[in-house]
């Protein structure tokens, strides 16, 4: 983790429209600027570990993050992703508990750390921050409940098809039509609760059926309609 010598100003941040500080008066944005610190983290670095005590929240200025926990067999299990404009670590902070999961960078990521006292003071004094925060939490709730509803009853082939579509929806596509997130096959398998071998085999099947193309770790989506059909997806 490298602390950046200069702070990014919230008012100039491209992530502001997606963050909890959207619609926040400029004067109060200055309060956040005053107290926060900015960091650059490399791909693979861990931002916080399950069981640690939170001292603040992290706002993602630019980058992609996986939220994971240690599964029953000691293997990392990804529970969700966070991207530019999202905040992480707020749940443990507000409930006064330790982190229930870890957060790691999927690519080089710029983060702003907002200390606990600053956040709590904003929450107590500014309805718009509290309201944006609860809306953010409610969106996460929707994502979590959707996952169990649609994923748990599906076969690993169906889950993988749906997960590719979810990744496309969350992170978009790069200029070559590849998913704009770098995930190892292990990470992909932990996302859908399948064995790595099974994921590799199914990706090969999708490639043979001309639904996707594979270029190293990169997955290029070629036929969204077929993925929708295989994944039995009706909404994303």
């Amino acid at each position: 983790m490298k602390r950046l010598p200069e702070k990014f100003l919230c008012s100039n941040c491209n992530a502001l429209p997606k963050s909890i500080f959207y619609n926040f008066p400029p004067l109060q944005l200055g309060e956040v600027d005053k107290d926060k610190s900015c960091f650059l983290m490399k791909r693979g670095e861990v931002i916080f570990h399950e069981g640690n005590i939170p001292h603040g929240i992290y706002c993602i200025r630019k980058g992609k993050i996986k939220i994971f926990r240690i599964g029953s067999e000691g293997k990392d299990q990804i529970v969700k992703f966070a991207k530019t404009g999202d905040i992480i670590g707020y749940r443990a902070l507000l409930s006064g508990e330790t982190y229930t999961s870890s957060a790691g960078c999927l690519e080089d990521t710029e983060l702003c750390f907002i200390p606990k006292d600053t956040l709590l003071s904003l929450v107590a004094n500014h309805a718009c921050v509290s309201m944006n925060l609860i809306r953010f939490a409610c969106q996460e709730l929707g994502t979590s409940s959707r996952l169990i509803t649609y994923m748990a009853q599906k076969s690993s082939r169906e889950r993988l098809a749906e997960m590719l579509l979810i990744l496309k929806e969350n992170f978009g596509l790069d200029s070559e039509g590849g998913l704009d997130v770098k995930l190892t096959r292990d990470e992909l398998s932990s996302l859908i609760g399948a064995a790595t071998e099974s994921v590799i085999r199914t990706l090969g099947d999708f490639r043979d059926e001309n639904i996707i193309a594979l270029n190293g770790k990169k997955i290029i989506i070629k036929d969204v309609q077929k993925l929708l059909k295989i994944g039995k997806v009706f909404d994303l």
Partner: protein
């Protein structure tokens, strides 16, 4: 459903909201909360309906489900005392994401949406306990999803029972304090009823659990 007005709720699920209610508005707040009684299988609300308020469970059990791609219902949460429902739809201003249905006779403290929103504007701190409730639900959903997606059937059933016991406690006979038909348990752990019976019988033969109609007992919690 029967509705009875009531003011004595200082020890109930709403107490955390009461703590953030300005003293001058306390009577108005208490008068706005309805005590609702639901019979087993009665719906509290349905997925897709407009949100009308926050439901806090005072007693009894509620199953919370979502429509699946197979046009069936998937139970995603089993709720008991002090748990809240309906928060998300109110603050995100979208239709309800779930259907909630009473499993046993259930008493609910119901806070109308307008009151919840006006309170949160008067004192933004009231949103903290509500956010914590949402966060607890997310945590429970994530853990349950991870469990059912990545483990063998025996582990899923056993760990689910451990979690239900930790959440609802046990009665005087040592049974988990939630009456849950096998059909609902099978749905909750994403298994067929036949498969669940096979697992339950296997665990019972190994003296790890026992079960009878709608009741389950863990012999060794660890």
């Amino acid at each position: 459903m029967t509705v009875i007005g009531h003011k004595n709720m200082e020890n109930g699920a709403m107490k955390q909201i009461i703590a953030f209610t300005p003293a001058a508005l306390m009577d108005e707040f208490l008068n706005s909360v309805e005590i609702r009684h639901y019979k087993p299988n009665e719906f509290l609300f349905n997925q897709g309906e407009q949100a009308i308020g926050i439901y806090a469970v005072e007693s009894g059990n509620v199953k919370v489900s979502r429509n699946t791609h197979k046009k069936t219902q998937q139970i995603v949460l089993l709720n008991g005392k002090n748990e809240m429902m309906g928060i998300s739809a109110i603050f995100n201003n979208h239709p309800l994401l779930y259907t909630a249905r009473a499993i046993t006779p259930t008493q609910i403290h119901f806070l109308p949406m307008a009151k919840a929103l006006s309170l949160s504007k008067l004192n933004p701190l009231v949103l903290v306990p509500l956010m914590n409730k949402v966060n607890e639900t997310i945590e429970e959903l994530d853990r349950h999803t991870a469990l059912v997606m990545s483990n063998d059937a025996n582990t899923v059933v056993l760990k689910t029972m451990q979690r239900l016991q930790a959440k609802f406690g046990t009665d005087v006979h040592g049974f988990i304090n939630i009456k849950l038909p096998v059909t609902d348990l099978a749905n909750y752990v994403c298994m067929s009823k036949t498969n669940l019976y096979r697992v339950l019988n296997n665990l019972q033969e190994r003296m790890i659990i026992s079960y009878e109609t709608n009741r389950y007992k863990l012999f060794n919690f660890e």
